[in-house]
């Protein structure tokens, strides 16, 4: 578990360094994700080694969002002035984005015959 965590942190560190060093707008963890993915393509055995720990970790992904969510208590004044507008925008745009993505996926899947086997 410690070795897997070290790997994850190492790739994040690599990503952060690259993002800062080259002042990229892509955040460090995403570059780390891409870096780990490319490494897995070269070393497939690494994927098996990391599988169990990472799967267990990702099963509790929801927990990691709680601290940021509680931040709502620090923004109650913003929600008092803009709450209705923000709420409609959040719900409306989330529904529209899901519909747009599902629609585009199914349309192009049909056009290209990329069925699911």
């Amino acid at each position: 578990m410690i070795r897997v965590l070290t790997l994850l942190l190492g790739f994040q560190l690599f990503g952060e360094s690259l993002a800062r060093g080259l002042s990229l707008s892509v955040p460090g963890p995403v570059i780390g994700l891409a870096g780990l993915f490319c490494t897995l393509l070269v070393f497939p055995r690494l994927a098996e080694f990391m599988r169990e720990t990472v799967t267990g970790f990702l099963a509790h992904l929801s927990l990691l969002f709680v601290p940021a969510g509680v931040g709502i208590v620090a923004h109650l004044d913003t929600f008092a002035s803009y709450g209705a507008g923000l709420a409609v925008a959040l719900v409306g745009s989330t529904v529209l984005a899901i519909l747009a993505a599902v629609g585009a996926f199914l349309l192009v899947a049909r056009l290209t015959g990329a069925g699911d086997d």
């Binding site: 942190l9 990702l58 990691l64 709680v66 409609v88 529904v95 996926f105 199914l106």
Partner: protein, 238 residues
């Protein structure tokens, strides 16, 4: 009595208490969601946030003090994002097979998320930093915070908007897509990941494994695309 007060004022300043309460709130919320048959509205993040917000309000604890303890959990978002490389890798064959549909869904979903959020909020009178903070809200938290800072939003407000977006997506996706009769788990999962990042992905994994894997991919790709698109869109509009 004074001893209890002294003990409380000591503990309330310590990271240990708020870290423990964050985990405890999540355990209770997860149990509750389980007891309610994983009904979409019984979202564990939503329940945890409500529980903790009430505790902070009742004890008059500032968010900054709470975050001193909760930051250890928050920090793990970074390595978790990196870890999303694994579901992506294990689904490589299916990803290759549906590459074009995924790219189309990614572009459509990402653009619609940014533009419709800004458009609706602007039409309803939201202005300034609050509006800009909304732009990256469909991307996963660590990404959205960085983007928000870069385009002149308030990162902490963006964090809240990101979480609320994720909860919204997790609540509406299943009933809405069932109603529309969408049976392709790849499309369903991918769309939820693009629109509602990690919270949507956590929900998708509970519904169907394929949906979860594709949701993780959608989330990862949209994190990258939002980091590129949101500054462009905001630069063009404002």
């Amino acid at each position: 009595m004074t001893e209890a007060v002294a003990l409380w004022s000591y503990l309330a300043q310590e990271p240990l208490l708020w870290l423990t309460l964050t985990l405890a709130a999540y355990v209770i919320a997860d149990r509750l969601a389980e007891a309610l048959g994983r009904h979409p509205v019984a979202n564990p993040v939503l329940i945890s946030v409500i529980l903790l917000a009430v505790i902070l309000k009742v004890t008059a604890t500032p968010y900054a003090i709470y975050f001193e303890g909760a930051q250890f959990v928050h920090f793990m978002l970074g390595p978790a994002t990196v870890g999303l490389a694994l579901p992506l890798y294990f689904n490589l064959a299916r990803v290759r097979q549906s590459l074009l549909p995924m790219l189309a869904a990614l572009l459509a979903g990402s653009l619609v998320a940014i533009l419709s959020a800004l458009g609706i909020a602007w039409a309803l009178g939201v202005r300034g930093q609050a509006l800009l903070s909304l732009a990256p809200k469909s991307a996963t938290a660590p990404v959205a915070l960085g983007v928000s800072e870069a385009i002149g939003g308030q990162p902490t407000l963006t964090a809240v908007l990101v979480i609320l977006t994720g909860i919204t997506g997790a609540i509406v996706a299943t009933p809405m897509l069932n109603l529309l009769g969408v049976t392709d788990w790849r499309a369903r999962g991918f769309a939820v990941g693009v629109a509602a990042h990690g919270i949507g992905t956590a929900h998708a994994f509970r519904v169907h494994e394929t949906a979860g894997a594709f949701s993780g991919i959608g989330m990862g790709l949209n994190a990258v695309l939002t980091a590129v698109l949101a500054p462009l869109v905001v630069g063009l509009l404002f």
